[in-house]
Symmetry: none
Subunit: 253 residues, 4 copies
DNA sequence: TATGAATGAGAATTCATTCAT
DNA sequence: AATGAATGAATTCTCATTCAT
C-alpha cells in the first residue's frame, strides 16, 4: 500500500527478527517455567474463565498443589505471566523504536504497527492482556503494562512534537488514544464472540510471516489491508498525515 | 476551549438537557426497578465479579429469591440493565447527531464528545458496558450495542467522506478506532483501582492526560481540558483537522 | 374375547356405567373444588415433580396464596386429592363386586378387571396413586388406599375360598399379589419413560404384553388383548383356572 | 413347607452361598466406596427424597465437594449405586436359574424365590430400586435393570411353556405380573412407614400376609411362611400348580 | 519438592409458605 | 376470601486452597 520506505510491510520484515525467542514449552523444564507456560497457554485457549488452577496444573503436567510450591496464589502466578508477556511486548516495541532510526514519525508508527501485528497474531492473549478482567493483583500489572506502553509511545511522541515532526498535542492522551484505537479495532471485535473465542483458540490464523510480503496494497490479504488502514488512522491521529505525507493511505488525493 | 460555534462546551450545554432522566434509586420504588438499579450500582462498584445475586439482592433490600420473581435469571436481569443504559446512550448520541445540523464534521464529533462526557461521568459503568466480559446472553446485548454504536458513527463518517468533508478512509475502522481511543483515554484507567473501583465509584478522577497542557490550559476544569484534547484527537484521526480547520485545538500553526 | 357370560368385555359394558360422575372442572365452581381438580390434572400431566403450588394455582386460576385458605399445606391438598380419587376407585370396585352377583370367582375377577381398565385409561394417575413417592402425609393415604383395596379383594377371596370356589390360600397375600401383578403389568412400564410420561400423558400405549398371542389374537384392540391376558393371569393366580374353567384364555387346551 | 426336593428352603440354603460378599461399610475405606455405601444407606433410610448431596456427604464423613471428586454429579453416583446393586441381584438370579438344573418349573420359581428373599432382607432398598422415581439418568439404569429382570424371567417361562411344563401364556406379561406380585407383597407395605422407613430400616417386618395361615403354619419363622405362600402364588400364577403338581402348597386336594 | 484428595465457602436457582393489602 | 410479591432455607455444583503423605 505505501510505496515509501518504512511502510508497514518493511517494518515488519525488519522487526519480526528482533522479536523475543519464544518461551520454551520444554518437557523436563523446571516446574516453575512449565507452570508459567501452561498458564499462558490455557489463557490463550479459553480466557481466564477456563484458566482454573486444575486446568493449568493439568497442562503443566503437575499436581494442583504443586502450583502453590512455586507461587503464593493463582493471582501471583498470573502476575508473573503478565510480567513475562508484557515485558516481552514492551521490549519488542522498544526494539521497533530503535530500529526506526531518526525518523520521528516512524519512531511513533513503528511500535504501533508492531503492536497491531502481534495482537492480530494472538487475539485471545491480546484480549486477555488488554481488557479481560481478572484479579485485583493482575489488574495492577495490567495497568503497569498499559502505563509503560503509553509512556513509551508518549516519549517518542514528545520527541516528535518537540522536533516539529508532529503538531502540538497532549502526547499522553494521544498515546492512550492510539493504543485504544488499535486495541478496539483489533481485539474489540474478538470480544464479539464473547471472551476469547474458544473454538478458534490455539489455531493461529493470520501470521505475520504469512502476509509479510511485498507492498500490502495490491495484496488480497484482509489483514494486510486492515493493518494499512490502521497505519493511516494512526498517521492521521498523530497529525503525521497532515504535516508529512500528502499521499498517505487513506488520504485525500 | 473551542471558540467556534458548536464547540464542545456548547454541545454539552445543549445536549445534557436531552439526556435521560436519571432512574430513581427510590426507597419504596417498585421492586423490579430497585433490582435494576441495584444491579447497576453493584456493577459500578465492583464489576461483574462482585455482582452476585446475593450482593444485588442485598443492595436492593430484598431476598435473593425475589430476584427470580422479576427476572428469569441473573443474566436476564443484566440484559435488561444493559438495554436500559445502552439504549439511553445511543438515543442520546443520535440526538447529538441530529442537533449537529448539516455540518458533516460536527455530526461526527458531536456524538463522540457526548460519549466522552458521559463515560467521564461514570467510568466504572462505562468500563463494564464496553469491555468487561460476562454472560453469553449479556455479551450478545453488548455486541448489539457496540454494533449500533459503530454503525451510528460510521454512518455519519460515511456521509462526511462522501460529501468531501473528510478524507477517504474506512469508516468502520475509524469508527472502531474512535470509540477505542476515547474509551482507552477515559475508562481504561479505571482499571487502575483494580476492577472498577469500589471506593471511588462515581468520583470522576483524572486520567491519561494528567499532564494536560497546551491551549486548553486556560480552562479551570481539568475534565474540560481533557475533553478538548480528545476533541482535537478525534478531529485529527478523522482527518477533519487537515481538511477543514487549520486552527483547531492541538493543531500546528 | 371370552365367550362366557361375565367375560371382561361384558363386565366393562356393565360397570363403566356404574362409575362415578366425573368431577366437574367447573369454571365458577367453589375455589376449593377448582384446586382439587387442578391438582389432579397437574399430577396427571406431569407427576408430582411438576405439581408445584404455583402450577396448581395457575391451573385453578387462583393466586398461590389462595391455596392456603383452603388447605393447611400442599400435602393436605394432596391428601384430599388422593382420598377423592381413591374413594371413587374403591367405590367403583365395590360396585363391580356387587354387580358380579353370586359367582364367587367373578366377584374376585370383576374388580381386578375394572382396576386394570381404569389404570389403563389413566396411567399417569395410576402411577401416581400406586407408586410415585411424595410426601409422608400423602403416603399414608396411599397406604390406606392400598389397604382398603386389598381388604376388598381379600374379602371376596376369603368368601370364594370358604365356598370352595377357589383353592385354599392366604387371601391377603393373594390380594396383594394380584394388585401388584396388575400394577406392574400396567403402570410399571409407565415408569420406563421415567416418571409419569409427560409427552404421552393420557395416551394409552401398549405395555408388557406387546407380543400378545394365543386365543386373544382375534381381537383388534391391543388393550383388549392385554386385558384378556391379565384376566387369565389373575384366574391362574387365584386358582380359579384350575377349579372352574378349563377353557379360559391363557389356559392349556 | 414343601416336602419336595427343590423346595424354597433348600433353594435358599444352596443359593444364599452364591450371593455377593456384602460391600464393607469400612471406616477408613477409600472415599469413593464410602460415598457409594453412604448413598445406599441414605436411600435405604429416607428414599431419594432425603438423599441430598449434603446428607450423603455427611454420612460418608466427607465434605460436600468431595463427592464431585469421585462422581461427575449426584446422578452419576446413583447410577453407580444402582448398577452395583442391580448387577448383583441379576447375577444372583441367574445363578439361581442355573442351580435349578433341568426342572423347567423350578427354573422359573427359583429366581423368584431368591428375589423374594433378598427383597425381604432389604425392603427399603428394594422399594427404591423398583419404584421410586429419581433422576432421568438413574431411571435409565432402573429401566435397564427391570428389562433384564423380566427378560430373565420371561426366558425361562418361554422355555417352560415350549416344553409343555407350563400352560400357554404371554411370558412377558406373566414375568411382569410375577415381579409385581412379589414386589407388592414385599416392598409395597414398606411405604407404610411413609417413605422407606428411617427408623425401621433393615428391620424386616411382617407384610401383607400377616394373617398367614394354612399349610405354612408349622414353620416357626414368619418370613418362611410368607415365602412359602409366595411360592404357592407364583406356582398358581404360572400355571405350574395345575399342570405339574396337584399337591403343591396352597393347592386344593 | 511433589502429590492429589479433601476442603468448605460461595455460586445460582427453586419453591412451599407467609402476610400486608 | 383473595391476592401475589416477598421470603429464605435448601438444593446442586465449582474451585482456590490446604495438608498429610
Amino acid at each position: 500500500m505505501s510505496a515509501l520506505p518504512g511502510g508497514t510491510a518493511q517494518r515488519t520484515a525488519r522487526l519480526t527478527a528482533l522479536v523475543d525467542p519464544p518461551p520454551v514449552p520444554d518437557a523436563s523444564a523446571p516446574t516453575r517455567e512449565r507452570l508459567l507456560f501452561a498458564a499462558r497457554e490455557v489463557v490463550e485457549a479459553g480466557g481466564y474463565a477456563g484458566a482454573s488452577v486444575a486446568a493449568i496444573a493439568l497442562r503443566a503436567g503437575v499436581a494442583n498443589g504443586t502450583l502453590y510450591r512455586h507461587f503464593g496464589s493463582k493471582a501471583e502466578l498470573f502476575v508473573e505471566v503478565f510480567r513475562d508477556v508484557c515485558g516481552r511486548e514492551v521490549a519488542a516495541m522498544r526494539a521497533a523504536v530503535d530500529a526506526a532510526g531518526d525518523d520521528h514519525v516512524e519512531r511513533v508508527l513503528a511500535p504501533l504497527d508492531l503492536f497491531s501485528r502481534r495482537a492480530l497474531q494472538n487475539r485471545s492473549l491480546a484480549w486477555a492482556l488488554l481488557a479481560e478482567p481478572v484479579d485485583a493483583l493482575v489488574d495492577e500489572v495490567r495497568l503497569e503494562y498499559r502505563r509503560t506502553y503509553r509512556e513509551l509511545l508518549s516519549g517518542v511522541l514528545r520527541e516528535a512534537i518537540a522536533a516539529g515532526a508532529l503538531p502540538p498535542q497532549d502526547p499522553d492522551l494521544t498515546a492512550a488514544g492510539l493504543v485504544g484505537a488499535v486495541g478496539e479495532a483489533l481485539v474489540g471485535p474478538v470480544s464479539a464472540a464473547p471472551g476469547p473465542p474458544t473454538a478458534t483458540a490455539g489455531v493461529p490464523r493470520r501470521t505475520a510471516a504469512d502476509g509479510a510480503h511485498g507492498p500490502a496494497g495490491e495484496d488480497g490479504d484482509p489483514d494486510d489491508a486492515l493493518l494499512a488502514e490502521l497505519d493511516a488512522l494512526c498517521r492521521r491521529a498523530t497529525g503525521a498525515a497532515a504535516t508529512v505525507r500528502a499521499d498517505a493511505p487513506g488520504q485525500p488525493r
